[in-house]
Amino acid sequence: MLANVPFIAFALIAIIGLATMIMRKNIIKIILGLGLLEGAVNLFLVALGYRQDGIAPIFTNAPSTKMVLPTVQAMALTSIVIGVATMALLLSFAVFIYKKYGTLNSDSINRLKG
């Protein structure tokens, strides 16, 4: 049970993030919901890579040659970097939308339709 806590946390955060994206009208909040979802996926990645008594693959410090391949940790780092870029881009879009439309309400950002 205790080992599943990170996965339960992942599911909760992901659901909160998705619910925020669907139920909120303010696009900044929608973008922050996306941020939550991103954090949840990163948590899932790191939780997946955890091994009991695992040894970090630093050759000089490792007591034996049995080490854990840090692929998921590397993936989570890369994914965090990509998340920062995405956030920056989306928030800059929000700034421009506010400048041009004068609102952040997603109900009024609907000039493209048909």
Binding site: M21, I27, L34, M75, L90, F93, F96, I109, G114
Partner: protein
């Protein structure tokens, strides 16, 4: 160490290098900036085409990053698993790289003229090169996480380009939708990749394909991967971003966004055929793809008919045309388990579907570029405001006619060649679907007749008396695409035999892809 061994790395490295050099060096002088943009793209295209030639001539290539030798896929001390990032370029990847090289070069050439008098060009071309690098990476990589990274590069660069010319906020609205949807999709993709990694302890597609057990988690991972990809290629229930993004992006970018969507389709097919193949219940999943395809075809074209904005209309046609590709490959997938049926119709349907990817990229690119040329000269994008341009823009009109006839599947153009293969083989599989496909084609023709008539026909309008033909570089870009459209219609057999059939075989032969990384068994 020879140059030819390293083409798979160079084809992604060159556009990345130029993309990051452009904002810096482009500040010096605008000639340097334009020169860097066009030389960067030319080098990328040349390397891409050469790489494709290598693959078609000598067989699939694996390229290992950071290894002692580029083809050393399994390091001797790793215990039999590939641990490095590997690019696996087989004939299907090479086929996509050919399309990317051609359309990418034409987009850059066209942008040089349309963006000439506007601000922020260095960043514009940098983003365009990043988009090209991302899309090439998506189709060449053999590593699932690497695929996610390239997917995000192409989504973000694409969204930034869609919103680049703010256009009273409308373009930003389209860009916001595109970025938001593709990021959520990207995260689901990453979740699917993580589930696969958790089970198989590797990210290499070939290794996973070799060990796949098809547990319940694998099916969840598959769904988490294919739904984002169906979104990326604009299949119908997930198509809502396509008309917005395609209609508001600059014309040259739209032409390339079509290719970027097709990279999503590449990943979709790669998952079905290379990763899962016959382990999957291919009939069920084949029908899922067929239904996606038929819905896209029909809803796309019916939504296109009432549109008044020329680029939005074409965007809905892009949705409709991607339905043909999904249909063709879906029939191939549905018949994969049945050898007789596969030989009777499945293989031809797949050849038609894959050939249609190339044809669509060419004629749709051409059509978006002609629409861009009309908007460039007149500043108007609504069909009701346009008219009589045939008197002044003769070349653009001719290119538009070529594109419009090709998309409708009229004989001497390439659209006919692939659509005819599809009709023929799908009719054997299920006549009803073939009839829908033909009806959609007729509706497409009707819709483009309307566009042609309202843009080019009629008397010369006084407000467009000053309108003149677009600059030479735009005409060249359109001309080359038009030439390829005609060539594809006159000599379809040469293209099918040399490029399309190897691509289809590469998809069908799962063991070849595995053998490329794991060594022949």
């Amino acid at each position: 160490m020879s140059f030819t061994q390293h083409t798979p790395a160079l084809v992604v490295g060159i556009p990345l290098l130029f993309a990051f050099a452009l904002p810096l060096l482009g500040k010096i002088h605008e000639k340097i900036r334009n020169g860097l943009a066009i030389i960067g793209m030319l080098l990328t295209s040349a390397t891409g085409l050469y790489l494709a030639y290598q693959v078609f001539a000598t067989g699939a290539m694996a390229y290992v990053f950071g290894a002692a030798a580029p083809d050393l896929t399994i390091p001797p001390d790793s215990g039999g698993i590939p641990i490095r990032i590997i690019f696996s370029i087989d004939a299907f990847s090479a086929f996509m790289i050919v399309i990317i090289s051609i359309v990418g070069l034409m987009s850059t050439l066209y942008s040089l003229a349309t963006e000439k008098l506007r601000s922020g060009q260095a960043d514009f071309f940098a983003l365009l090169l990043l988009l090209v690098a991302g899309v090439i990476g998506m189709v060449s990589t053999g590593d699932l996480f690497n695929l996610f990274v390239f997917l995000e590069i192409s989504s973000l660069a694409g969204a930034a380009l869609v919103a680049y010319r703010i256009d009273k906020g409308l373009a930003v609205e389209a860009g916001l939708k595109y970025a938001l949807i593709s990021t959520v999709a990207g995260l689901f993709f990453l979740l699917g990749v993580a589930i696969l990694y958790g089970q198989y302890g590797t990210l290499n597609m070939a290794v996973i394909a070799q060990n796949i057990r098809l547990s319940r988690l694998d099916i969840i991972a598959l769904v988490l991967i294919i739904v984002p990809m169906a979104m990326k290629c604009g299949a119908v229930p997930m198509h809502m971003w396509t008309p917005d993004a395609y209609s508001r992006a600059p014309a040259a970018i739209t032409a390339f966004l079509v290719v970027s969507s097709q990279a999503g389709m590449y990943v979709l097919f790669r998952m079905f055929f290379t990763m899962f193949n016959l382990n999957l219940n291919t009939v069920t999943f084949g029908w899922v793809v067929i239904i996606l395809g038929v819905l896209s075809m029909f809803i796309g074209v019916t939504m296109a008919i009432p549109q008044k904005d020329v680029k939005r209309l074409m965007a809905y046609h892009a949705v409709s045309q991607s339905g043909y590709m999904l249909l063709g490959v879906g029939v191939g997938l549905a018949t994969l388990g049945n050898k007789e049926l596969l030989d009777a119709c499945g293989r031809t349907a797949m050849i038609g579907g894959i050939f249609h990817i190339m044809n669509h990229a060419l004629y749709k690119g051409l059509l978006f570029l002609t629409a861009g040329a009309v908007i460039y000269t007149t500043g108007k994008r609504y069909l009701n405001d346009l008219g009589g341009l045939g008197h002044t823009m003769k070349y653009t009109m001719i290119f538009f006619i070529i594109g419009a006839l090709a998309i409708a599947g009229i004989p001497p153009f390439n659209g006919f060649a692939s659509k005819f293969m599809l009709y023929e083989s799908v009719f054997l599989f299920n006549p009803f679907i073939a009839i829908i496909a033909i009806v959609v084609s007729i509706l497409t023709l009707a819709s483009f007749m309307k566009v042609f008539h309202s843009m080019f026909m009629g008397p010369k309008l006084p407000q467009f008396s000053e309108a003149k033909e677009v600059p030479a570089s735009m005409l060249t870009a359109m001309g080359v695409l038009a030439l390829l459209v005609v060539a594809g219609g006159i000599f379809p057999d040469i293209i099918v035999r040399n490029i399309v059939e190897p691509a289809v075989n590469a998809l069908l032969e799962q063991s070849q892809y595995i053998g490329l990384v794991m060594g022949a068994k």
